[in-house]
């Protein structure tokens, strides 16, 4: 089951690599990426399609919860906004209140405009 993560992040040294590394390293398989630089060349709008890894037996067959990923991503210093979209896992269901105002994880009616939306 795949999800999409919509991220706005500052254009800075390694910021795109850092974002993708955080997603892959934490147990989520990147299926596709689109990134577009803003007109003022200060931010990227990034859309990442991903699915949580499914552990191989004998490990428990429980994939990492998708709703955790926005909270992992929003910790990155360059990330300004994050939104998770997926068929069955709105992040607001069990996510605690995020400590950073920049988080918009899974909130319905977000005013963020992302590439291709």
């Amino acid at each position: 089951m795949s999800f999409t993560l919509h991220v706005r992040l500052k254009k800075a040294e390694g910021s795109l690599v850092r974002l993708l590394g955080q997603i892959g390293r934490r147990g989520y398989d990147v299926l596709g990426v689109r990134a577009e630089l803003s007109a003022d060349q200060k931010t990227f709008d990034v859309v990442v399609e991903f699915e949580p890894f499914m552990p191989v037996p004998p490990a428990a067959q429980e994939a990492r919860p998708a709703e955790v990923l926005p909270r992992l991503v929003e910790k990155l210093v360059e990330v300004e906004k994050v939104e998770l979209r997926g068929p069955s896992s709105p992040a607001s269901k069990s996510a605690p209140a995020a400590p950073k105002s920049k988080a918009a994880a899974g909130k319905p009616g977000s005013e963020m405009q992302f590439l291709g939306e």
């Binding site: 040294e13 690599v17 910790k75």
Partner: protein, 556 residues
Amino acid sequence: MPSMKGASFVCRALEAEGVDYIFGYPGGAIMPFYDAIVGAKFKHILVRHEQGAAFAANGYARASGRVGVCVATSGPGTTNLVTGIADAFMDSVAMVCITGQVRSHLIGTDAFQEVDIFGITLPIVKHSFLVRNVNDLPYVMQEAFRIARSGRPGPVLVDIPRDIQEAEADLKLLPRVVEEERPPAPSRESIEKAAQLLRDCRKPIVYAGGGVGMASAVEEFRGFIKVTQIPTVHTLKGLGTLPYNDPLFLGMLGMHGFKQSNLAVQECDLLICIGARFDDRATGVLSKFAPNAKVIHMDVDASEVGKLRKAEAGIAGDIRPALKALSFPLPQIAPWREACLKSKVDYAWKYNAPGDGVYVPAMLKELGDRADDKTIITCDVGQHQMWVAQHYGFRRPEHHLTSGGSGAMGFGLPAAIGAALSRPDCRVICVSGDGSIMMNIQEMATLNRYKIPVKILLVDNQALGMVRQWQELFFAKKYSEIDLSDNPDFVKLAEAFGIPAFFVRERKDVPRAIDRLLHEPGPLLAHVSIEQAANVWPLVPPKKSNAEMEIHDHNK
């Protein structure tokens, strides 16, 4: 501020941050910085290996709560920092790591001593900068310190090409960001949900980790326990959050946790996890951990809540107001509390091991009993580390410096150097093993050079003891590459470095050895010989729940 070189500005920025010690090792790409530090207000400690610098800065930060600073040159200098940076990342330690880089026009050309340390460290830093323009330095230095110490602390890398260090510009210091930047308060809804779970529970356990101390919430935590009277277990890094002699402290949980701790967690109906992260060393098989419990999870880092175990109440943000709001009496838990306290008595450790040889748990208990409230213990990694955690008896979390998340052998001695310099009011004792001490043995030269009064309690079983124990128990006694019987004479070795040292061979020698460790001035090494077959108990075998721990000695 008049025009100055980038390297000089970095020095001024460190001074403005109030840095008093930095730990490093010079080399080609960082030479302008080393030229600039002559006459600086901070003192540079010349270590003998860059890993020692990273661990010393790490120990400095852990003991003092301030930001540790380490410095290295490009290439191998930076890669030698990596283990210490990873350790700081895993254990959330505030560090700024300044590295020299080859000149900007050489980056990406495989130049001499060029390594992409920015790329190498991406997964193990809280943040990192590669400085492309000298005019960025004021912002970068301000941000590096702010990021390192804010929220959940962590290491920040500042990689500065040599030409940027040499470039002149009109650079002005930016105002220092106020250190007491608190995370936002948790939501009222999450606290109310947790309060309801507390009111409904009958068998609660508090499972607290290093996050409590790092959030400066020890007093609020102790107040919460005092009012609620909930039995408490700690992770390795949480030890000391509740003093070891508090009646409600059951002990450490997890792979080498005490029986009363692990059994209480397994039986509880509400697990209140505070500043901990369900690490596999604490939980054993996660699906079997506290199987009947609902969970309240409090953490400054929202991404930890629900990462590994679903929380019925997740409290993200500043844990201090949450602890205060949840501090109300729970009269309904009295029978459970009494059962836990009885279990603590029933399973109390017996320190009367047979024989005349040194029994390390008893030695460490005696050390803890006799040390005062101003004693900091650093550890290396292995059996001795677990014995310290089980038996020393900590009174404050910042008095126990251990490589918890990364489990880095070689941490103890350089971390002790950093701790001793940052806390000159404290006695610092490094408890190490014969495997671990050799990983950064060269830092004895640093001890001697600066006459840093670190005491080393070296527990020597002439083997890689923890690996040996696992091979004995789980690999059919097929011992593979664990023999260290050709160790050097550690007493002579210490003396060669200029450090006084002595042997401890029998149990009867222990009290006198502790006298010397606690009261002699200057650095000192005590070399304690123990039998190779000594094992750490209890032990939760792999793929077992914490209820299935094994004890195979006189405590069985």
